[in-house]
């Protein structure tokens, strides 16, 4: 599925200054080129001239201390925030507008939040249905797809439960099912285990890795936990809004 449209294709650009990795020569799925972002409130420079590529089926961990810009990087890479300078490309094209990013998030980009961001008044199944409204036609089709996703995250017995009554681990599974609703190409996970105990953490990480393999997703995960980061194929360390180090699995930092 391609939701970017022709107008976005016209904005195809070749980013400069992006480090070439093992995927050199292959068009990246997402490419940040010289991206900077300063928040007007408090004049916080959250991102400074960051360049980064994410390829299909990549497994990337973004690490760094609090305030290093990890979450900002995910928001910028998914079009939920826009850079002050630099460019963010999706499949080689720069989305022409916030609306174009919205279309991408509806079909190509999934997002999992640390605090789940589920709607407490809806059931688990309805939360998973939400992204499909306007994309998958027919309430019955949406329900069937949501039920299948709930099963894929091991929660088929909890579809009718309100998420407000669920444990953290269960809620995050629902959030993962929701992120996969429209079969994205990339899944961004912002500290997905940050609010979970160690048992749930292991379950969620295994689930994400499993789904990445099964759905052939790129997985970009923010974490402050070095042990979790070690599971990724590539690790990017941020500090003060800059990439301090990039490390490929099996290579020294």
């Amino acid at each position: 599925m391609n939701a970017t449209g022709d107008s976005e294709r016209e904005n195809r650009t070749e980013p400069a200054g992006v480090p070439a990795g093992r995927n050199a020569g292959v068009e990246p799925l997402i490419c940040l080129a010289g991206v900077s972002r300063t928040y007007p409130r408090g004049h916080v420079q959250a991102m400074r001239n960051v360049s980064l590529e994410v390829h299909r089926q990549d497994y990337v961990a973004i690490t760094g201390p609090s305030g290093s810009g990890k979450s900002t990087l995910l928001y910028l890479a998914s079009g939920m925030d826009l850079p002050d300078s630099g460019s963010v490309l999706f499949e080689g094209a720069q989305p022409a507008s916030p609306a174009a990013w919205t279309r991408l998030r509806s079909t190509r980009i999934g997002f999992v939040f640390q605090t789940f961001h589920l709607i407490g008044t809806l059931t688990a199944l309805e939360n998973v249905e939400l992204p499909m409204m306007g994309v998958v036609h027919g309430e019955g089709s949406r329900k069937r797809r949501a039920a299948a996703l709930m099963e894929s995250v091991g929660l088929n017995a909890r579809t009718r439960h309100r998420v407000a009554d669920m444990s953290g681990g269960e809620a995050q599974r629902v959030a993962i099912a929701r992120a996969l609703a429209n079969s994205p190409s990339v899944l961004f996970a912002d500290e997905p285990t940050g609010n979970l105990d160690s048992h749930s953490t292991e379950q969620i990480l295994s689930l994400l890795e499993d789904l990445r393999e099964r759905e052939k997703l790129a997985l970009v995960m923010v974490t402050h936990d070095a042990r979790i980061a070690q599971r990724a194929e590539r690790r990017i360390h941020l500090r003060d809004g800059q990439i301090m180090a990039q490390e490929q699995a099996g290579e020294p930092a």
Partner: protein, 373 residues
């Protein structure tokens, strides 16, 4: 879950607030229905009164703003009667007088010529005979309100009249009036030889072109008079114009209040659900879909308000027309078209009330919304 059930669920999550908003909108709509219905009722009563008299055209003094206070020479009736195409002329005078009970009543006086008295439907008693200027006929509703029967007496402006008969009239105005021979009211008011207007019948009034032609021809022949088609008479009466203006002014204020209520409710709802809206944007909901959802919430709460408003409006009108102080004096005219217009108006108000909060919500970046900024 679909595009209808999702906003419904949102409203259902705050049942009390949604219900109170609907009641507020309902109150605004009820006042709109009641006021406009009453104003139209007066218009209808004037039109029905004209129809009962068989009036095609009314002649009043040119430039007069209120038919009750217009003064014309009654001898003009003869000249009008002599015009080609005119088949009948009835001279009339109307005024509001004080009764000995302290209440006020409309008095309609009619000339002996023109056939008014022979066609007046009498349900009890009899009509005043020729030359009887000490008798009056009461409209049935007024007679019931005052508890008068034929043979009783009624005091008008300090003068006593015998109630000779009771008449059942179709128009609520006529049915609550006192009907006197023209000379009786002229003497009572000290306006001998004067009338308020002339009710004219023409040949072939069923042809609109003929009506317009006669009106224009009469206007040319009598430049001191204004000729109004009977169907438009309500708009030439200052009292009904005032009522209509008041009804619309009050209704507009009520609608503005309804708009502010919806706006306030949805602004609160959107502010409370900033993160939820951010989430919808984060998972790829188009701004137009988010906007439509919020606007639909406004329309839904307005629809509930419309149901409350229709019920409350009709109920309050019923209470009003059965109230002893105004019983029978008011006859609201609430047609299905007026109901439909009011409902559509309220739904538009609901949609407009939701528009700004929706616009505000969709013009922020998802990240800002998710952070609750």
């Amino acid at each position: 879950m679909n595009a209808i059930t999702y906003p419904l669920r949102n409203l259902g999550n705050h049942r009390l607030r949604s219900a109170l908003t609907a009641v507020g909108i309902g109150a605004a709509m009820a006042s709109l229905l009641a006021l406009v219905g009453l104003s139209r009722g007066v218009d209808s009563a004037v039109a029905l009164s004209m129809q009962d008299r068989g009036t095609d055209i009314v002649a009043i003094k040119k430039g007069s703003v209120e038919i009750l206070t217009t003064v014309l020479d009654e001898r003009l009736a003869g000249q009008l009667r002599a015009q080609p195409g005119v088949t009948n002329v009835m001279s009339s005078m109307g005024d509001v007088v004080n009764l000995d009970t302290g209440q006020m009543a409309y008095v309609a006086a009619w000339s002996e010529e023109g056939g008014f008295w022979t066609t007046l439907p009498i349900t009890q008693g009899k009509r005043p005979g020729p030359g009887d200027y000490a008798s009056a006929v009461l409209g049935q509703t007024l007679a019931e309100t005052l508890g008068k029967r034929p043979g009783d007496r009624i005091e008008l402006e300090g003068q006593s009249f015998l109630v000779s008969g009771i008449s059942k009239q179709a128009s609520v105005i006529d049915d609550r009036s006192i009907i006197l021979p023209l000379l009786s009211l002229q003497r009572l008011l000290g306006r001998e030889g004067k009338v308020s207007g002339f009710h004219i019948r023409i040949d072939h009034p069923e042809k609109p072109a003929r009506l317009a032609e006669m009106r224009d021809r009469l206007a040319a022949a009598f430049p001191e008079l204004a000729f109004v088609e009977a169907g438009e008479m309500a708009t030439h009466t200052a009292l009904t114009n005032l009522l209509r203006a008041m009804a619309w002014a009050s209704s507009t204020i009520a609608l503005v209040m309804a708009f502010v209520i919806v706006l306030n409710t949805l602004l609160m709802a959107v502010t409370e659900r900033t993160r939820e809206i951010g989430l919808l944007s984060a998972i790829g909901w188009k701004p137009s879909r988010i906007l439509a959802t919020i606007v639909l919430e406004g329309v839904m709460v307005a629809a509930a308000g419309a149901v409350v408003g229709v019920a409350a409006g009709l109920l309050s009108l019923q209470l009003m027309i059965h109230h002893p102080a105004v019983g029978g004096f008011l006859q609201p005219d609430v047609t299905p078209v007026l109901l439909l217009q009011s409902v559509v108006l309220v739904l538009v108000v609901g949609a407009l009330g939701g528009l700004y909060p929706a616009w505000r919500a969709t013009h922020m970046r998802p990240m800002e919304l998710l952070r609750g900024e």
